[in-house]
Amino acid sequence: MVGSSSKEPNRPLWVLAELTYRCPLQCFYCSNPIGFAQTRRELSTTDWLRVLREARELGAVQLGFSGGEPLLRSDLEVLIEEAARLEYYTNLITSGIGMNEQRLSVLKSAGLDHIQLSFQASTAELNNYIGGAASFEHKRDVARLIKKQGYPMVLNVVLHRGNIDTVDHILDFAEELEADYVELANAQYGGWARLNRNLLLPSRSQLDRAEAKVATFRRRLQSQMRIFYVVSDYFEGRPKPCTAGWGRTFMQITPDGTALPCHGARELPGMRFPRVNETSIAEIWKSPEFNRFRGEGWMKEPCQTCPERHQDFGGCRCQAYLLTGDPENTDPACALSPDHDLIQNAIETARRTASAMQPPKFRNVHNSRIHGDKLGLRQV
């Protein structure tokens, strides 16, 4: 009798507002499109305010402000104030650069509910190397201030070959900072992570060791801290239920106002996603682009008749396209996919080249211009 209902919501419950692609850091696994530097003008404050109202009318409740670095927008306080007035649950997803005590308290009075602070690693040396800037001490100070002001804090670290061996240290560090949640997310190989995949993919044994360390830590955990460990689809033999299903509950709005059903959708061929400055959120939600992979009608075998399809929705369309060339294919991360060898070969290639120290392609404007035409952000 008692429990949570599983009624299909089919409305954008989650809205991710990417306020800007500008960012002081240059993480080489960044999920932003490789061609971000070609992006058009950022949406105006007025546009964002209207978007927040329209999405809320459709039933959106969870709102994330991210980027790039959302603190670079000087209207962030105004947007959060309006979001709080509309009764969203507001999340700020930040690297911490640009935050200080004063701004934290202004955001608090504007009604900000929660902060997700990212670290690149739990030591200064590694953190600063991966992020391409000396940010560690500042981040640590910001984490303390966040807690001091009574916000709930998620500490987020993207895991990859370069930091996954330190996962126990990361957990100790998170506990010491009194994080309410720590999210250890294995890199997803879209955006910049795809470009740097050979450098980022861990080995199977690294992954197993890390998972064992997380399990040990969980057993002895005394505090209320909760750990979200996000597995790597490359090693699971099962795909991720990408954004809980295309066009089911999630909408992402990019800095120039393009509305997307998932992070990488912009890279899909032959699709021009609607823009919030031309089309209302309600129309966007019903648009042909948002219908493209909704439900199960588009699926091919093996997904079409697989019992798992209601749980994983056949995986990620963008990964299917990036790796197999056809977005209707089964996500190759699935062991049942006829293209699964692409994943296994990628792991093998990364393992073989692991010792041949190539420099990473950091996420910055220069690299975006060089690599963007080939791989990212087709439509500008």
Binding site: S4, Q62, Y89, N91
Partner: protein, 94 residues
């Protein structure tokens, strides 16, 4: 703590959780960092009781009046234990 509920335990919704009626969904939802849970009628009634410090006996009293079934005690207990292990509520031993 999580685990089995005993007589006299103090129950309270975890800080940073919000319980709210959503018109668009015609239901109560529980909101927390990066999460939404849509609650059915009985679940919402139980969580409503937990928004202020309460006890198992009090929750059961209120919810039992609304849903006077034979299983109500075990249903409420089961839900609260599940809610505690999800981190929605905090149980303190008196």
């Amino acid at each position: 703590m999580t685990g089995l509920i005993q007589a006299g335990d103090i129950i309270e919704m975890a800080p940073h959780y919000r319980l709210r009626w959503e018109d668009a969904q015609q239901s109560y939802v529980l909101l927390y960092p990066e999460g939404i849970v849509q609650l059915n009628g009985p679940a919402a009634e139980i969580m409503k009781q937990c928004t202020n410090r309460t006890s198992f006996e009090q929750v059961l009293g209120e919810v039992g009046d609304l849903y006077p079934t034979d299983d109500v005690e075990s249903d409420v207990r089961e839900f609260l234990e599940e809610a505690a292990s999800n981190g929605w509520i905090i149980i303190q031993r008196a």
